[in-house]
């Protein structure tokens, strides 16, 4: 049976090649996009905002592209047809994923962002009416509610 435990193993040099492929795709993406530089933007506060946001977004996109495309290409070549022995025997059923471990951090982060943005929009954060404390109180309630839902 071919699976993670019994299938062909990657050697240390394979991991080096995998990492190199990822870095190669990352570099190509950055070069193609002029490293996230918008040459036509003139010097102004608004232009600087746009340039900075685009630069960060482009850098993150380059990481994403490098990881996914680099892995896709490397693994597709490494385990191309004929390069690995044919699978024999029965396939072991997949183990169930504990979605609680995935959902909890997402719930907390998304809740924090929504609360913060709403507090900013309503102008309640940092005012004399106990804005920070009411914000923290709502937060405590949100985390408790999130745990109950889970």
């Amino acid at each position: 049976m071919i699976d993670v435990e019994n299938g062909p193993k990657l050697k240390p040099f394979d991991y080096v090649l995998w990492f190199f492929t990822i870095m190669l795709f990352f570099a190509v993406f950055m070069v193609v996009g002029d490293f996230g530089n918008l040459g036509y933007i003139v010097s102004s506060p608004t232009g600087d905002y746009v340039q900075q946001l685009w630069g960060i977004t482009y850098f993150l996109a380059a990481i994403l592209f490098g990881v996914f495309m680099g892995s896709l290409v490397y693994l597709a070549v490494k385990f191309r047809a004929g390069a690995v022995p044919q699978a024999v025997g029965q396939i072991r059923p997949a183990q169930p994923t504990d979605y609680g471990k995935v959902a909890l951090p997402i719930l907390i982060i998304v809740g924090a962002v929504f609360e913060f943005v709403m507090a900013q929009a309503l102008g309640t954060l940092g005012t004399n009416s106990g804005g920070v404390y009411s914000w923290l109180a709502r937060w405590t309630w949100n985390i408790s509610a999130g745990c109950c839902i889970l």
């Binding site: 608004t46 232009g47 905002y49 746009v50 900075q52 994923t97 997402i106 982060i109 998304v110 962002v113």
Partner: protein, 148 residues
């Protein structure tokens, strides 16, 4: 899935959420700066912009109305009030990376400051009729030591 694979999956999701959260908060902060301005203490000059098929009318504080030409002084803050006389337009300063909708009956405003003198194009970025492609203007930024 192995234990390492599971941690990798969770780390990927958390990294993505953290990145998008950071970008969202930074964008919101910049949006507030653009919309509410950071130049209030400098008393920005107010310029009204009216979109009409197919011309941009710029009204200066002294009452002068100039079609398709906006003249600003470098390094000086301005408040742009944008509206439309007929259909929906969009005032697009390409080189500032910013555009603003011009909608009949509504007035939107933005703060603008350009530090680099030069001549830059202005476009209508909302299809407004058969002559939409002719609705262009120019933004002239003069050096700060000359009269704007």
């Amino acid at each position: 899935m192995t234990e390492i694979g599971r941690y990798a999956e969770i780390a990927t999701i958390v990294f993505a959420v953290a990145s998008l959260t950071f970008l969202g908060l930074l964008s919101y902060h910049y949006y507030l700066n653009i919309y509410y301005g950071t130049y209030e203490h400098q008393d920005p000059t107010v310029i009204k912009v009216i979109g009409k098929q197919y011309v941009w009318l710029f009204q200066y504080p002294n009452g002068t109305t100039v079609p398709d030409k906006l003249v600003l002084q470098a390094g000086k803050p301005y408040e742009i009030l944008v509206t439309s006389d007929d259909v929906i337009h969009a005032l697009y300063f390409v080189n500032l990376g910013y555009k603003l909708e011009a909608i009949p009956g509504y007035t939107y405003h933005m703060y603008i400051e350009v530090n680099q003198p030069g001549t830059y194009p202005i476009y209508c970025a909302e299809f407004c009729g058969p002559g939409h492609y002719t609705m262009k203007g120019i933004l002239i930024v003069t050096p700060s030591n000359s009269s704007g």
